[in-house]
């Protein structure tokens, strides 16, 4: 199968690879997919609680080139966006941007799910009343 230039570009130079501290209350973590299905994406966002802006995004992906490209693109797109804006990203946007063929559409679905899962994780942390301050600062105050 031939890959689009954009998929190859993201595969060769993935953006925002890495991990954020999942215990940090301002970080939301989304882990979607399953090893036996051949795709697992971990996408993390660090959100400013005041502005609701995603200040940082990181990913790691086990999957084909299209899955890596979809999640790489997703981190690029959510950075600097508000939570609401990020939630409006549709898998079809990713399909279009990366020119994914029909058999690879599930990669884009997984990327959309990963964004939503990460933001939901952050939201549930907020709802649980975890203080938004830096844990290190909180520790210092005690």
């Amino acid at each position: 199968m031939a890959y689009s230039d954009k998929v190859v570009e993201h595969y060769n130079h993935p953006r925002n690879v890495g991990s954020l501290d999942k215990k940090d209350p301002s970080v939301g973590t989304g882990l979607v997919g399953a090893p036996e299905c051949g795709d697992v994406m971990k996408l993390q966002v660090k959100i400013n609680p005041q502005t609701q802006v995603i200040e940082e995004a990181k990913f790691k992906t086990f999957g084909c080139g299209s899955a890596i490209a979809s999640s790489s693109l997703a981190t690029e797109w959510v950075k600097g966006k508000t939570v609401e804006e990020a939630l409006s990203i549709k898998n079809t946007d990713i399909v279009r941007e990366l020119s994914l063929p029909p058999v690879k559409i599930h990669c884009s679905v997984l990327a959309e799910d990963a964004i939503k899962a990460a933001i939901n994780d952050w939201k549930s942390k907020q709802a649980a009343g975890v203080p938004a301050a830096e844990p290190t600062t909180a520790a210092a105050k005690q």
């Binding site: 399953a34 036996e36 299905c37 992906t61 086990f62």
Partner: protein
């Protein structure tokens, strides 16, 4: 040192034609173009001579006599002819066929079709090393069994079945034994007499011959195997396979067999050395790499490894200057990971990370070392990218996690 890219390391899929094979074929396109079935002029006789020489060379490669070689279009047709041919011819005797879970689709799907027509098929499981359990085979045989079809060597994992033992059991029980010998013939010694093989499917393009030509060995005595033909027509090939012979292809097939026969001892030792060099150098540089299938009963030129936490298709993309194949679902038409690896009990997670290396006559040590380097650097890079590798390194048991599967 500079190696020429891309490197072809997918010799289980097909092999390039040996230039000596091409040379042997060339006159048969133009000067010696006759129909081998034309009995009344020199054009036909010359073509027939080319065919008969090839038939003899192929027979010699497997310890058969020339008359027992039936030319076909390839191994898919040979497998179909052997299984359907026996099934129809011996319908009165029985309707039971025994085969194996890791067969090629040309055998499995042929058997599935026969099931629709009222035949019963037993698909023997394989053990962890990829070989069948001979006790399973013995137990599966019933008075209704007319055919055992078990491949000689597997196309994905290169595992060699206990062919000699299977042949002995088949003979003792009075059941025909067919084997798909595509990956084995020309690579390791095959002897239809010693191993009591009644039919063996062959193809030229896996042994440095041209595509589009194959053969089925059909035993003529002790016991004589009769087949119902699939194609009706001029009654070529002792009535078993009608159709004008692909003379050019057959001549190439014969030359390819002759070369394999002469060079096998040296070639197989060389390829095994290259294979082991590849394996050992990869294993010494990477952790969490698993070999799929038996190392003891294995084709000398095959390696199949799972690189845990690195999905196969992304791996192929990373080593895109090397031609190999993967058992990953993403590389198959069905979106299912390799059924062969599943049959061995390899978990689907690891099946997705498998890579098959098929080393061939024209590969060099420099190429193998280049491939090793590219594989290692790509696995390291993709593991940096893999959440699973990170989780495993943190000590999480991935098999116990709850995954939200789609």
């Amino acid at each position: 040192m500079a190696v020429k890219l891309p490197i072809y390391l997918d010799n289980h899929a097909t092999t390039p034609c040996d230039p000596r094979v091409v040379q042997a074929m060339l006159p048969y396109f133009t000067e010696v173009f006759g129909n081998a079935a034309s009995r009344n002029h020199a054009f036909g006789w010359q073509a027939e001579e080319g065919v008969e020489n090839a038939r003899a060379a192929i027979a010699k490669l497997i310890g058969a006599t020339p008359k027992e070689i039936i030319f076909t279009s390839g191994a898919t047709e040979s497998n179909n002819l052997a299984i359907k041919g026996v099934a129809e011819m011996y319908r009165e005797k029985g309707n039971h066929i025994i085969t194996e879970a890791t067969e090629h689709k040309a055998v499995l799907d042929t058997c599935k079709r026969l099931e629709k027509y009222g035949y019963e098929v037993t698909y023997l499981p394989v053990q962890k090393d990829g070989r069948i359990d001979l006790d399973d085979l013995r137990k599966a045989i019933t008075p209704k069994t007319i055919l055992i079809s078990i491949m000689y060597a597997n196309n994905e994992i290169g595992v060699i079945q206990p062919v000699s033992e299977i042949g002995a059991i088949a003979r003792e029980k009075g059941v025909f034994f067919h084997t798909d010998g595509v990956q084995a013939a020309g690579k390791i010694p095959v002897d239809v007499q010693k191993d009591n093989i009644d039919m063996i499917s062959l193809t030229a393009h896996k042994m440095y011959g041209p595509k589009g030509v194959g053969a089925l060995y059909v035993r003529r005595r002790n016991p004589r195997v009769q087949l119902s033909a699939i194609l009706d027509g001029g009654g070529h090939e002792r009535g078993m396979r009608s159709g004008t012979l692909n003379v050019t292809g057959i001549v190439g097939f014969g030359k390819a067999s002759e070369i394999c026969m002469n060079e096998m001892p040296v070639e197989s030792a060389r390829l095994m050395k290259l294979r082991d060099r590849l394996k050992d150098n990869i294993l010494s540089q990477l952790d969490e790499v698993y070999i799929n299938g038996s190392m003891t009963h294995r084709l000398p030129h095959n390696m199949n490894m799972s690189f845990a936490f690195v999905e196969g298709e992304s791996m192929l993309m990373g080593i895109n200057d090397i031609a190999v194949s993967s058992g990953s679902a993403c590389t198959s038409a069905t979106l299912e990971p390799s059924y062969v690896l599943k049959a061995l009990g390899v978990g689907e997670d690891l099946a997705h990370t498998s890579i098959r290396f098929g080393i061939g006559r024209f590969n060099t040590e420099e190429e193998i070392d280049y491939v090793t380097g590219r594989v290692v650097e790509t696995v390291v890079r993709l593991r940096e990218l893999s959440p699973l590798y990170e989780m495993a390194k943190e000590g999480m048991d991935l098999s116990k996690m709850q995954w939200n599967t789609h």
